[in-house]
């Protein structure tokens, strides 16, 4: 009996514990700490640890989400205006460009003897860095933290352990220091090779920097200011100049990247102190900037936290935008001081499924729309795309934007079967084969099945919103589409079959040998997987082509691309900057994967002399009707040659919970957090009302256990009685 009583005691205790926690004002399933409820915090997520946060190394959108809030490059994109427009960020005005000839004399932009472009930058005074231990000074004005040995660093395990912080005004020399860092070969900046073609003295900087490092002891700090850099000059405290070789109009776009954000030399010194690297305290991990936010916690296993930079400069919400922005309430906060949100918590969330559940429960403020949850979120009817009733009831708002990006289904043009190889006649036959495949690859159906229609079939590499994109009949790819009743209509499979016959593969069989045509689709194992492969096989089968899926891990895939051993593949490109050059270079011959040993972006290895020539011409031009004509000719060439079977431009759908304001997707810039505003009270109310725990099933389970245990108990009693009676007969 005793035992049973204690059981009851435990059960009582457990249920009280449940009751007590259940009575606290927080929902049971809230994944955020209770004490943060009701605060002006934006909750977001990240899917994997960012690899690099150093502004010269980082080159992915996942990392840009964090550091673009922290680092302040000279230029930025206007938040609301479309097409994308650059404006001064930390500068007083857009940089002044002076073209010079070899004798340093100013010349016009079109001059034949143009040798250099000088960019003059003028920084706003009074911009201060975030509080940071690297800038902490002792009473003598010397750095507060100056470790001689690694042992001194051993008591610190994170940046927050450094109690002393300081700040300092942003000066021109910080920007030029960062350009030196870009040029430093040991830092492995991904765009060093590209920029070295243009920035004067960047290539030459590498050798002395390497030598200086070799002369040093391991781990010693190399002050890059001591090394000569021909092309950059600090004019005074707030002004500096960068010299480019020749002309490079796209340079302005790079100036809006974190690659050109200021880094104080003190920070570089601080992070180079002995022992810091071993404690994972590096610039690659703890950014330092002048931007609206600063990183206060970086635990990629759990959460990354950005907090408002208390020293942030005067910055105000824009007062102009697109015509529709006022009606959408995007101009309601015009002229207000930025940023609005105090703190942003990014929680680690590796999978899309829990992420979506938590968004619906109100624990994340914003969410993308995964393919699987699409029908739940979005309804498409005669009027167009809208939120589903369920979403509307929750007050959720939808942002749709065309991404400046292009996904394509490409051919390897060096391939023996589908490529641009062999005699003139063979090349034509292979072109016809590509043409047939392009028709059979029903991009519209692909988008509708695997992207729920979140994208549009591309007619050229250039996505909407970028100069060079043409809409309607003039833009249509006439190789694949007919223009019927004001709509593009894909050519018929019968026509494609006819092309197959002319290509020498009637019904997908080699006309001479009768052998069935087998093509290979190269892909990575991890990507989208079975369903889309099945679809692709089905489509190719329409032409009688047997499609073989060659999946491999990412390394192998890269290797195949690099060596030109792929046949068919899917690939994508998201714009670095909104210029046609950034897309058309995907087919520029010298950018070929094989000729550049894997460095180039032209994964089809397409190489057409006329196209290459036009590309070089187009690249240096300002947007103009002449440029448009050249782009049109380039596109015509690609539509004839078909290095890509098909392209599509993805649309981005972002859902915002009712309490999120000022959200407008920006296809290029990630530095948009400062414009965002939330209403925490509205959020708390909704979280409580929609997350009531359901206890019924639990009680049912408990009841079931009791019911199941009952026969056992009865059996036990019977057995005890039985035992008493028959004890003599038991062995």
């Amino acid at each position: 009996m005793k035992i049973r009583e204690s059981f009851i005691g435990i059960a009582l205790m457990l249920s009280t514990a449940f009751w007590v926690t259940g009575c606290s004002d927080q929902a049971w399933n809230n994944p955020h700490p209770a004490e943060d409820a009701g605060k002006n915090i934006l909750y977001s997520n990240f899917s994997g640890p960012p690899k690099h946060l150093d502004p010269v190394i980082s080159y992915s959108a996942d990392e840009g989400r964090f550091i673009d809030q922290i680092y302040d490059p000279p230029l930025q994109y206007h938040y609301l205006k479309r097409p994308f427009e650059l404006e001064a960020n930390t500068l007083t005005a857009l940089p002044e460009i002076v073209y010079r000839n070899a004798d340093e004399q100013p010349v016009s932009a079109e001059a034949e003897d143009l040798a250099y472009s000088d960019y003059y930058f003028d920084i706003k005074p009074g911009i201060y860095y975030q509080p940071h231990p690297a800038l902490a000074l002792n009473d003598d004005g010397e750095p507060y933290y100056a470790f001689e040995t690694a042992a001194e660093a051993s008591q610190y395990s994170a940046l927050s352990d450094f109690a002393q912080t300081g700040t300092r005004e942003l000066v021109a020399a910080d920007y030029t220091y960062q350009i030196r860092r870009l040029a430093d070969p040991t830092l492995l900046s991904p765009i060093r090779g590209l920029l070295a073609q243009y920035i004067q003295g960047m290539t030459e900087f590498a050798e002395p920097a390497k030598e200086a490092r070799a002369a040093q002891q391991d781990g010693e700090w190399l002050d890059l200011r001591t090394i000569e850099f021909d092309g950059i000059e600090v004019i005074d405290r707030y002004r500096f100049r960068v010299r480019l070789k020749g002309k490079y109009p796209q340079f302005s776009y790079w100036l809006a990247f974190h690659f050109f954000a200021p880094v104080p030399p003190e920070a570089d010194r601080f992070y180079s102190m002995p022992g810091m690297n071993d404690r994972n305290i590096t610039l690659d991990w703890y950014p330092i900037g002048t931007g609206p936010y600063m990183m206060t916690k970086n635990d990629p296993n759990e959460a990354i936290v950005l907090e408002r930079n208390p020293n942030y400069r005067d910055d105000f919400y824009p007062a102009e935008g697109e015509p529709a922005d006022r009606a959408a309430g995007l101009l309601d906060d015009a002229g207000q001081a930025l940023p609005f949100i105090d703190k942003v918590v990014y929680r680690l969330e590796k999978e899309s499924i829990p992420l979506w559940s938590k968004f619906l429960q109100g624990y994340y403020d914003r969410s993308g729309v995964a393919s699987d949850s699409f029908d739940q979120a979005i309804s498409i009817d005669a009027e167009g795309i809208a939120l589903s009733d369920d979403m509307r009831d929750r007050g959720i708002k939808l942002d749709i934007a065309v991404m400046p990006g292009t996904y394509y289904f490409g051919f390897n043009m060096l391939d023996e079967v589908v490529g641009d190889t062999g005699t003139v006649e063979e090349r034509e036959r292979k072109r016809l084969l590509r043409h047939a495949i392009a028709i059979a690859y029903d991009q519209e159906e692909y988008i509708s099945i695997f992207y729920n229609g979140r994208g549009e079939t591309g007619m050229s590499p250039i996505p909407p919103g970028i100069f060079g994109y043409q809409q309607g009949e003039e833009g249509v790819n006439t190789s694949v589409f007919d223009w019927v009743n004001g709509k593009p209509v894909r050519k018929s499979i019968d026509y494609a079959k006819e092309l197959m016959a002319r290509a020498g593969y009637p019904d997908g069989r080699n006309a001479e040998t009768g052998e069935p045509l087998v093509l290979n689709f190269d892909t990575t194992v991890s990507s989208s997987g079975g369903a889309s492969h099945d679809w692709l096989i089905k489509k190719m089968k329409q032409l009688g082509i047997q499609l073989n899926i060659r999946g491999s891990d990412y390394n192998r895939f890269k290797e195949k691309m690099k060596t030109g051993n792929a046949q068919l593949f899917q690939w994508g490109w998201l714009a670095d900057y909104p210029d046609a050059e950034n897309f058309l270079f995907l087919l520029y011959g010298p950018n070929g994967q094989v000729v550049t040993q894997g460095a180039g972006v032209n994964s089809s290895n397409y190489d057409n002399p006329r196209y290459n020539e036009l590309f070089r011409e187009m690249k240096l031009m300002e947007n103009s009707p002449e440029r448009m004509a050249i782009i049109r000719e380039m596109i015509d060439i690609t539509q004839h040659d078909m290095p890509w079977a098909s392209t599509f431009h993805p649309h981005s759908y972002v859902l915002n919970n009712a309490w999120v304001y000022n959200s407008k997707p920006h296809g290029i810039s990630k530095a948009v957090l400062k414009y965002m505003r939330i209403d925490p009270e509205q959020r708390s109310a909704m979280q409580e009302s929609s997350n009531r725990p359901v206890l019924g099933p639990l009680l049912l389970v408990a009841l079931l256990v009791i019911v199941l245990a009952l026969p056992g108990y009865v059996g036990y009693r019977r057995r005890l009685n039985h035992r008493v009676n028959t004890v003599g007969r038991q062995r």
Partner: protein, 325 residues
């Protein structure tokens, strides 16, 4: 005793070298250092020079196993294998291929792993023993047969199903616990509840069955029969004799897994987004971060060997007749 432990530890050295050789062989056949560099450096505008520099910085520029450029012992020591595996024996894990300090990561991620694994382990054993006792109490009845069939049925369900069903009902449909995630500190319990419950439930089938067998073996021993024949009540027999004596084989059999609890559970951690060592390893495999995988394999082997040693020691503790020699 001490001499025995020392000898066992020495015996572990060739095993650990073997483990290292095996992982090394497997991973470097899969991936050349060039490919590793490419993965780490990303895929936009990567130059050959950058790859070479990455290899030098990470120490992957040497030959794998044998350096023909050197003579004598240097031919063996100036290699990736020697440099990378020797440091492991000093438990110096070095840096991951992505540039993070592995030891610091392990130190941090060990706690969430333990927070899931320890309760699952302890509660699991307790529940299994309780259930097994319960079943033994009603042995040779319809209840016993039913319970055993239920156990087999529970064992026949893939662990993945438990997780999927648990998440679906408890988190999605009933709003009882957060769907996934983790917070360090006191808030952690809300996140641990579901993984622990699922971990326990998925182990009930096998555990109960095994412990029942052990208890039954005890129940059939002569002294128990004698006690029962003397008229000692069934409950007293169960708790005085069967339970304490049956515990001995149970405890000695579970000792081996205790050190490995540090490693966490691959499946549960990655399903529930718990940032422990299990998901750390899985991420490393998926990212092909060889340095981390190598360290984790090594750590796992060390813990396993410690577990074996603990098992031996626990035998002597519970049974004085066993001598370690």
């Amino acid at each position: 005793m001490l001499a025995y432990i020392v000898r066992r530890l020495l015996y572990a050295v060739p095993i650990l070298i073997g483990v290292n050789l095996l992982t090394f062989a497997l991973f470097f056949v899969v991936n050349t250092p060039d490919q590793m560099a490419r993965v780490q450096l990303g895929d936009r505008y990567v130059s050959e020079v950058a790859i070479q520099e990455w290899k030098v910085q990470r120490g992957y520029d040497k030959p794998l196993l044998f350096n023909t450029a050197h003579e004598g012992p240097a031919a063996v020591t100036e290699t990736i294998f020697f440099e990378k595996s020797l440091s492991l024996f000093a438990l110096d894990f070095g840096k991951s291929d992505a540039g993070r300090n592995i030891a610091a990561d392990i130190e941090q991620r060990m706690w969430p792993s333990l927070a899931v694994a320890l309760p699952t382990f302890a509660i699991g054993i307790a529940v299994n023993i309780a259930f097994a006792l319960f079943v033994v109490m009603f042995r040779a009845s319809l209840f016993d047969t039913g319970a055993m069939i239920l156990c087999v049925a529970l064992m026949s369900i893939s662990g993945v199903f438990y997780v999927i069903a648990g998440q679906f009902f408890f988190a999605k449909e009933w709003n009882l616990v957060p769907v996934s995630g983790y917070l360090s500190g006191v808030d952690a319990w809300r996140f641990l509840l579901l993984p622990v419950i699922i971990g326990v439930i998925s182990g009930i089938g096998g555990g109960t069955r095994l412990y029942r067998t052990l208890f039954l073996e005890e129940a059939n021993k002569d002294y128990v029969r004698t006690a029962r024949a003397k008229g000692v009540s069934e409950l007293t027999v169960l708790f005085r004799h069967i339970l304490p004596n049956g515990m001995i084989p149970i405890l000695t059999s579970v000792v081996v897994v205790i050190p490995s609890l540090f490693m966490g559970s691959l499946l549960v951690e990655s399903f529930f987004g718990i940032p422990g060592l299990g998901s750390y390893t899985l991420e490393a495999i998926q990212a092909q971060d060889f340095a981390i995988v190598r360290s984790m394999v090594f750590l796992g082997s060390v813990l396993y060997i410690i577990g074996l040693l603990l098992t031996d020691i626990s035998y002597t503790l519970v049974d004085p007749r066993v001598r370690l020699s």
